[in-house]
């Protein structure tokens, strides 16, 4: 019986499980090392960041960097906008994509296959090619420099609908839906009260991914935003980058702070995720 040690933790081979834990642990450290570096750099001045060997422990420039950061850009305001846009984006995307994914997974209707293929197809074009036409649409709608231009279009996420469809396919039993229908439940009621609760893990995953994508997105805001007070964080932080004179320390501090809400969100949602998953797994 040959197997990778991850699937064969028998007592007869004390080396195998040890090796697995060590490997996974080393991998985790590798994943985290750049993060560590980011937080270290956030506390260093740019002279130190650019020196070799680079600093590996914290420095004393955090407050100085923070001062430069808040002086150059309306950092906290931009943070607020990022938060608002990400939350709205997540809410709308979850709603629209779960509805659509459910429709694609559990119903038969005309044009189902071509429509789905079409939706998938839109994932295949690089988004920056959309810059100019998107700008034209936003301009025509009067949405330039408005946050809604950032979260409304993204709610039609091909990725989201794809993810939802796959999860519905693998988690929601048809019989349940049929039974509910026979019980007299309305179609929208089925969606809201039966399917949606079963999708909690997928909603958690998609919600997290959508939030992160919205949070880190800079092309959208670049196209649409005109006033620095309305920028979201990535655009605001990038505007600190000069061809030759970037305040790298402040930039790293800003990036590190920008990462914190995502860390918090992930910590929170993974717990939710687990709770949802455990509940869902018990049939």
């Amino acid at each position: 019986m040959t197997a990778t040690s991850t699937t064969l933790p028998t007592l007869g081979r004390p080396l195998a499980p040890w090796a697995a834990y060590a490997l996974v642990g080393a991998g985790a450290l590798l994943m985290l090392a750049p993060f560590w570096l980011m937080f270290v750099f956030a506390t260093q001045s740019r002279t130190e960041i650019f020196s070799l060997p680079p600093p590996l422990w914290f420095g004393n420039d955090l407050l100085a960097n923070l001062a430069i950061l808040t002086e150059r850009i309306p950092f906290w305001r931009n943070l607020g906008w990022s938060l608002y846009v990400a939350l709205m984006s997540t809410a709308l995307t979850l709603l629209f994509c779960s509805m659509g994914g459910y429709a694609f997974a559990c119903f038969e209707f005309r044009f189902k296959q071509p429509l789905f293929a079409f939706v998938l197809a839109t994932m295949l074009l690089p988004s920056f090619m959309n810059m100019i036409p998107t700008f034209m649409i936003m301009d025509a709608l009067g949405w330039i420099d408005q946050p809604r231009a950032l979260y409304i279009p993204g709610a039609a996420s091909a990725f989201g609908i794809f993810l939802m469809r796959q999860f519905v396919l693998s988690t929601v039993p048809r019989e349940l839906i049929e039974a509910a229908r026979m019980d007299g439940c309305s179609e929208l009621g089925i969606y809201w009260r039966i399917v949606l609760p079963l999708l909690k893990p997928a909603l958690g995953t998609l919600g997290l991914i959508t939030f992160i994508a919205s949070w880190n997105n800079f092309i959208g805001p670049l196209i649409v935003m005109r006033s620095p007070e309305n920028y979201t964080l990535p655009l605001a932080l990038r505007s600190l980058q000069s061809p030759v004179d970037t305040e790298w320390g402040a930039l790293m501090t800003g990036s590190a702070i920008a990462t914190l809400p995502l860390l918090v969100l992930f910590a929170l949602s993974s717990r939710q995720l687990i709770a949802g998953l455990t509940a869902g797994a018990v049939k």
């Binding site: 650019f50 070799l52 680079p54 700008f135 330039i144 990038r238 980058q241 000069s242 061809p243 030759v244």
Partner: protein, 448 residues
């Protein structure tokens, strides 16, 4: 002659293409619709006082550090135009030019004033999106000689239209570590007399001090391809789209770069990388061919501890080149009522001696305005350069720079040449073959 401050993480400098018969742009759909709506509204509205009482707000789009320079000029602006607010919209260097391209392409949401870097101004000049400043009410022709001539030439597009006013320039210089020269037993003149002399000096520096002559062999190539350009010619393309990369100046550039590499005189580090800045800190790089502004950066944060050890020299063999430079332009589609005020703001930023010198003092933005060049500041000793009054040297260098015609494919050509040079240096590809390959690639695109 332009060498954009092209670096690892900055936007590349992209000069424009040659003139093509492009029609003038009529109204794009949105402005027309807006005009209709406005017209209808005006027709319905009661006749009232003109816009005199409405507060005017100018929008300036810029990138660091030009954005700071504009903001620092605002107190002076407020004295002259107390009722006119100015909002500065900052974006990262490449983002800014992308946003400006987008806005110009749709003629919508344009700023009243647009900062442009030298690498982009040529390209934008070839398009029809910026106001020709020779026309009234600007009449830039009357005051054109107040700026350094080559800077204005860089902002000249097809048909001679001048689309932007120069704000700062980047005269090229040779920064050298004086102490390393002394240890190697060399006089400064030996570096600047000729390019061969420069390379020979490099060998001596290497032998006696162990330091590299320069960061990368392509630096010397970049300078040498700019020598001996005939009038009307561009860097890579001629006036009739012919490809010039097999001409003698390219051959010589490649040969000298190969010579530098053969004797291991270059550190093979990329500009703005950690190794590059560390090379300065540790004295492993003896010289750098660069724009004058690098001295300020070395002094401020790259290698502050090497204060006093550097000197600025003219480029070898009398070469002249420019690195960087900023301009201000007025988009054609900007609100008409703001244009006169925008022009006044440009005047403040580019024609006001005090503002130009202030930007120079605070940000190393070398003034394009000639009448600021007689300020005593130019004669002041620079401590980082061991007390040398280098600004006078750079001022004289700026006067001798001549502009080079730009072609739309210049950025692409630059990369092709860099790639071929890498193959010559790293893999021993014969120079003639490399240049022929490059010419082949460029010929296909010359007319796009």
């Amino acid at each position: 002659m332009q060498l954009g401050a092209a670096t690892a993480t900055r936007g590349p400098a992209v000069p424009p293409r040659t003139p093509d018969a492009m029609p003038q742009t009529p109204h794009a759909p949105t402005p027309r619709r807006r005009a209709l709506l406005l017209g209808a509204a005006a027709a319905l509205a009661l006749p009232g006082p003109a816009r005199a009482t409405a507060p005017v707000r100018l929008t300036v789009a810029a990138y660091p550090a030009v954005d700071t320079i504009v903001r620092e000029a605002l107190p002076a602006w407020r004295e002259r135009h107390p009722g006119v607010a100015v909002q500065v919209v900052s974006r990262q260097f490449a983002d800014h030019h992308t946003a400006m391209t987008t806005a110009l392409s749709t003629r919508s949401h344009l700023p009243d004033l647009m900062a442009l870097e030298v690498g982009y101004v040529g390209r934008f000049a070839q398009g029809g999106g910026l106001d020709d400043l020779r026309q009234p009410p600007y009449d830039i022709g009357r005051i054109a000689d107040r700026w350094v001539p080559y800077a204005l030439a860089q902002a000249t597009g097809r048909g001679g239209a001048i689309v932007a006013a120069p704000s700062d320039i980047g005269p090229g210089t040779l920064l050298v570590r004086h102490d390393l020269l002394t240890r190697a037993g060399l006089a400064e003149a030996e570096l600047t007399r000729s390019w061969d002399g420069y390379v020979a000096a490099g060998r001596q520096i290497q032998a006696r001090t162990g330091a590299y002559l320069l960061a990368h062999a392509r630096d010397i190539k970049n300078l040498l391809i700019r020598t001996g350009i005939q009038p009307g010619e561009g860097l890579y393309f001629g006036a009739g789209h012919e490809v010039l990369v097999e001409s003698p100046r390219f051959v010589r550039a490649f040969e000298l770069a190969r010579e530098v590499r053969r004797h291991r005189l270059d550190a093979r580090v990329a500009e703005w990388s950690n190794e590059w800045s560390e090379g300065f800190k540790r004295g492993r790089l003896a010289t750098q061919l660069t724009g004058a502004w690098l001295a300020g950066h070395l002094s401020n944060w790259i290698a502050p501890d090497t204060r006093g050890l550097w000197r600025a020299l003219p480029l070898p063999e009398g070469a002249q080149a420019a690195w960087g430079g900023s301009f201000f332009a007025i988009p054609r589609g900007a609100p008409a009522g703001h244009k006169r005020l925008a022009w006044e703001l440009i005047g403040l930023l580019t024609l006001d001696r005090a503002q130009q010198l202030q930007a120079f003092r605070r940000h190393d933005a070398f003034p394009a305005l000639r009448e600021s060049h007689d300020d005593p500041f130019f004669e002041e000793p620079i401590p980082f350069l061991g007390g040398q009054p280098a600004r006078a040297l750079w001022r004289d260098a700026a006067r001798r720079i001549s502009a080079v015609a730009v072609h739309k494919q210049d950025a692409f050509a630059g990369e092709v040449i860099d790639t071929e040079l890498d193959k010559v240096l790293d893999r021993g590809k014969p120079i003639a073959v490399a240049l022929a390959d490059a010419a082949r690639l460029l010929a296909r695109r010359a007319r796009r």
